[in-house]
Amino acid sequence: MRDVAIIGVGSTPFGKLERQGIVEMAVAACRDALAESRVPREKIQALYLGNFAGERLASQGSLAAIVVNRLGMSGIPATKTEGACASGGIAFRLGVLGIALGLYDFVLVGGVEKMSSAPTAEVTAALATAGDETAEMRTGLTFPGAFGIIMREHMARYGTTRAQIGLVSVKNHGLGAANPKAQFRKPVTLDEVVSSRLVADPIRLFDCPPISDGAAAAVLCPLEMARDFTAKPVRVLGTGHATGPATLWESADVTTMPATVRASREAYAAAKIAPADVDVVELHDCFTIAEIIATEDLGLFPKGKGGAAVEEGWTALGGKVAVNPSGGLISKGHPVGATGVAQIYELVRQLRDEAANQVRGAEIALAHNLGGTGVVSTVTVLGRA
């Protein structure tokens, strides 16, 4: 296996991007990543592109092939990856494997989603297809409802408080306010979070991410070649990819996501690090409670202590481990297929000391991407090269 480096990243802003279609956004992010890497387009040997609902929400299939075509790179293999909200994380990992295994020297990875063009009810229905058709989503359950059940269970089982969970939203909105790529650029107070509109008890509006458009991309090459292209390559120390239950009724304990646990242990083992070594994390806060559960499942805090960790400020910028300095999905936005690659974009900037909310001296970074209520997860550990 060869060591892999990231030598360029690009991203559109996240938000309601008017006059930008799904292909245009993907092309824009790829163009920026290619420009930053200084790799000429004819050297790129493959594209992996994460996308969840392009056929349904943007009426566009064959997405990866069309994107390489528009980039003037037609001919190379181009693959769309789909794993619900973890589609981007899967694309990134396949790109890493392509280089690690010696199949390719230069790979472009990306992720994209266009959501604002469809009515909210259609977006809801499209996202709900990540659940098992024959069971949950058929009843009208949507992801806020599923995570409402999970949040209530976490509160009952571990004594996690409404205020602790709300502080995730306060932290992430505060950080997102300083991120020029973020959809929401405004801090919120705990009072505003816990009195915002009830969505699925106990989940309220400010516990949820927005509907977003956006794309992100990265250029990968073998570590040994990276310094020919950039003075600040970022090294991929380890990756993990795992699956878990598709539904709440398959989980004996809904307060843990086995896919996150398994993917993170795989990534830690490959990187030869322990959770305590991680300095900065971009994780899948598809709801406030999901951030608390992820910090536990990633082994950053013991099970049931994630709420207290937020309250103590351990996940804040300047805390023990900075969690979601980008603002996370809740504030930065969540164009689902783009999210996994956008997390890589943010962490590469952290490890190059270029981030909007820079974690000073960060050496080890971790990205965590989750699909559905835990049906799939990817985890990536990055370090300075």
């Binding site: 009810a121 259609e122 809801t124 229905a125 709900a128 058709e133 024959t134 069971a135 949950e136 058929r138 009843t139 009208g140 359950l141 949507t142 806020p144 409802g145 409402g148 059940i149 949040m151 209530r152 269970e153 009952a156 509109r197 009830l198 969505v199 699925a200 008890d201 106990p202 989940i203 949820c208 539904t247 709440l248 009724w249 398959e250 989980s251 004996a252 809904v254």
Partner: protein, 142 residues
């Protein structure tokens, strides 16, 4: 412009597309059933047409009790898909050790509690494209 959608939005509940459709037929008769593997005798939940333990695809139907207890729930107020009105109570109901995801009916949302006893009251939903009735699991307080 509107698009004509020719596909059945829920093909896995159709007699035409799945051998497991009888789950819904029996639900319409007020019975909650699941599959018992004809190869090794394991009872699955939810119903499964393939047994990963012995790799058999033969099964028979087994009745489950019509009562259970609420193991987890939420009251969803907004963010429901088109065609659904809030508030709607979703619950995981423990039925003989199986975790049955369902809707709670005929209950005041503020009165739902973990451990509450509930009984099966199947819920009729939109007919299939051929006009036959469709049902989903739902429970009401005992």
């Amino acid at each position: 412009m509107t698009y004509f959608r020719a596909v059945d939005p829920f093909p896995l509940e159709s007699e035409r597309y799945t051998k497991l459709h009888e789950f819904y037929t029996r639900l319409g008769q007020g019975r909650l059933v699941t599959t018992r593997c004809a190869g090794c005798g394991r009872v699955a939940w939810p119903p499964r047409g393939f047994c990963p333990e012995c790799r058999s695809d033969r099964f028979e139907w087994a009745d489950l009790p019509g009562e259970g207890t609420v193991a987890a729930f939420t009251v969803q107020e907004t963010g429901l898909p088109a065609g659904f009105d809030g508030p709607r109570v979703f619950a995981v109901v423990d039925v003989a050790g199986h975790r049955v995801f369902s809707v709670l009916r005929e209950v005041a949302p503020e009165k739902v509690a973990i451990g509450q006893r509930v009984r099966l009251t199947p819920m009729r939903v939109d007919d299939d494209p051929e006009g036959k009735p469709r049902w989903l699991p739902a429970f009401s307080p005992v």
